[in-house]
C-alpha cells in the first residue's frame, strides 16, 4: 500500500513502505517479548493467541 506520506520537507524517496517499517517495529519489539516470556512465564502464549486472532479477524473482514 503506497500512501502519500505526510512529513516535514524535504522528502526523500525510498523503497520503504508501511510493511517494511512495521516489520522493523516487530523486530524491535522482539527483545522485550523474549524477556517477558522468560520472566513472566507460559501465560505469555496469550500474546500469540492475540496475534493469531487479529490475523484471523482481518482475513474475515477482507474477504466479506
Amino acid at each position: 500500500m503506497s500512501l502519500l506520506k505526510v512529513s516535514a520537507p524535504p522528502h526523500i524517496s525510498t523503497k520503504n513502505d508501511t510493511n517494511v517499517i512495521m516489520l522493523d517495529v516487530i523486530i524491535a519489539l522482539m527483545p522485550a517479548l523474549i524477556v517477558g516470556l522468560l520472566f513472566l512465564g507460559t501465560e505469555q502464549c496469550l500474546l500469540l493467541q492475540l496475534v493469531r486472532f487479529l490475523l484471523y479477524w482481518l482475513n474475515i473482514c477482507g474477504q466479506s
Partner: protein, 257 residues
C-alpha cells in the same frame, strides 16, 4: 464491502503485540479478544484504518480494558512464578514498584538493577528497560523513528520527578527510579512515536514530547492511578492536530515575503 485487505501491511500485528505488552500476564484470553476488537474496529477501522486514527489504538484498547476490568488489569504476576497455561489456581501476584510507593502497599521496592533488567512485576512488555532500549537502538539504526520524542519524553519525566517528586523538598526526587519504573520506556519508544498520532515537524515533536513527559509526572504525582504513561500519551495524541497547526512545516521554493 469491496475494500482491499490490509493485513499485509503488518500494522495490525504491531498493534496486537503492543496491546499484548500492555496486559498483565495473568489476563484471560477473552480480555485480549475484547481489547483487540475495541482497538481494531472502534479505534482504527471506524476512523478510516491505518493513518486515520486519532489516538494510539493499543493505548485505547488498554484504556478500554482498564475501565472495564480494573482488577484483572492490575493482577501482575510475580517474575518466575510458574503459571500453567490452563489452571484454576490464581497466579502469585504482586504490586508494581510504582503502586507500592503510591499507595503505600506492602512489598519490597525493587532495586534499580532489577527494574533495568526486568526482574519485577508488571505488564508483559514494560518489565525490562534493557530489552526495550535494544529495540530503540535498532529502530534508530533503521531510521524508523527519530530520537526526539523518546529521549525528550523520558528526560522530561525524569527531570520533573527529580525536581518536584521528592518528599524532602525540591531536587530530592529519584531520577533513575522514575524513568525505569512503570511503562515509560515502552510508551515513549513504541507508542508515543506512532506516525499517525504524533506531530509532523521536529519543533512540534519537541512540544509533544515535553507535554507527554509533564503529563506523566502530573498523573503519577497527583492523579489517582500509580501509572500515567498511557493516559499522558493519549492526551497528547488528541492535542497533536493543534500542535501541527501551530508548527507548520517550512515551505520550500518560495521567496520570503
Amino acid at each position: 464491502m469491496k475494500l482491499p485487505t490490509t493485513i499485509g501491511d503488518l500494522s495490525a500485528v504491531v498493534s496486537g503485540i503492543l496491546l499484548g505488552f500492555n496486559l498483565p500476564s495473568t489476563a484471560p484470553f477473552w480480555m485480549c479478544i475484547a481489547g483487540s476488537f475495541f482497538m481494531m474496529i472502534i479505534v482504527k477501522a471506524f476512523f478510516g484504518g491505518l493513518g486515520q486514527n486519532f489516538i494510539n489504538p493499543a493505548l485505547a484498547g488498554r484504556a478500554f480494558l482498564m475501565a472495564s476490568w480494573p482488577t484483572r488489569m492490575i493482577a501482575f504476576a510475580q517474575p518466575f512464578s510458574k503459571v500453567p497455561l490452563i489452571s484454576k489456581i490464581d497466579a502469585v501476584t504482586s504490586p508494581t514498584a510504582l503502586s507500592i510507593i503510591k499507595n503505600g502497599l506492602e512489598g519490597e521496592v525493587p532495586t534499580k538493577m532489577d527494574l533495568f533488567l526486568g526482574n519485577v512485576s508488571g505488564c508483559i512488555g514494560e518489565v525490562s528497560a534493557l530489552a526495550l532500549l535494544i529495540g530503540f537502538v535498532y529502530l534508530l539504526i533503521r531510521k524508523v523513528i527519530s530520537w526526539r520524542i523518546p529521549v525528550v519524553f523520558i528526560g522530561v519525566t525524569g527531570l520533573l520527578s527529580y525536581a518536584f517528586g521528592g518528599s524532602e523538598g525540591l531536587f530530592t526526587g529519584d531520577f533513575l527510579f522514575s524513568i525505569l519504573s512503570g511503562s515509560l520506556f515502552l510508551g515513549a519508544i513504541f507508542m508515543a512515536t506512532d506516525y499517525t498520532t504524533s506531530p509532523v515537524t521536529s519543533l512540534g515533536q519537541y512540544i509533544y514530547a515535553i507535554g507527554c513527559g509533564a503529563m506523566v509526572f502530573i498523573i503519577r504525582k497527583w492523579g489517582g492511578y500509580p501509572e500515567g504513561v498511557s493516559y499522558a500519551i493519549m492526551l497528547m495524541n488528541v492535542a497533536t492536530p493543534l500542535i501541527d497547526k501551530i508548527t507548520p512545516p517550512k515551505k520550500f521554493g518560495r521567496r520570503k515575503a
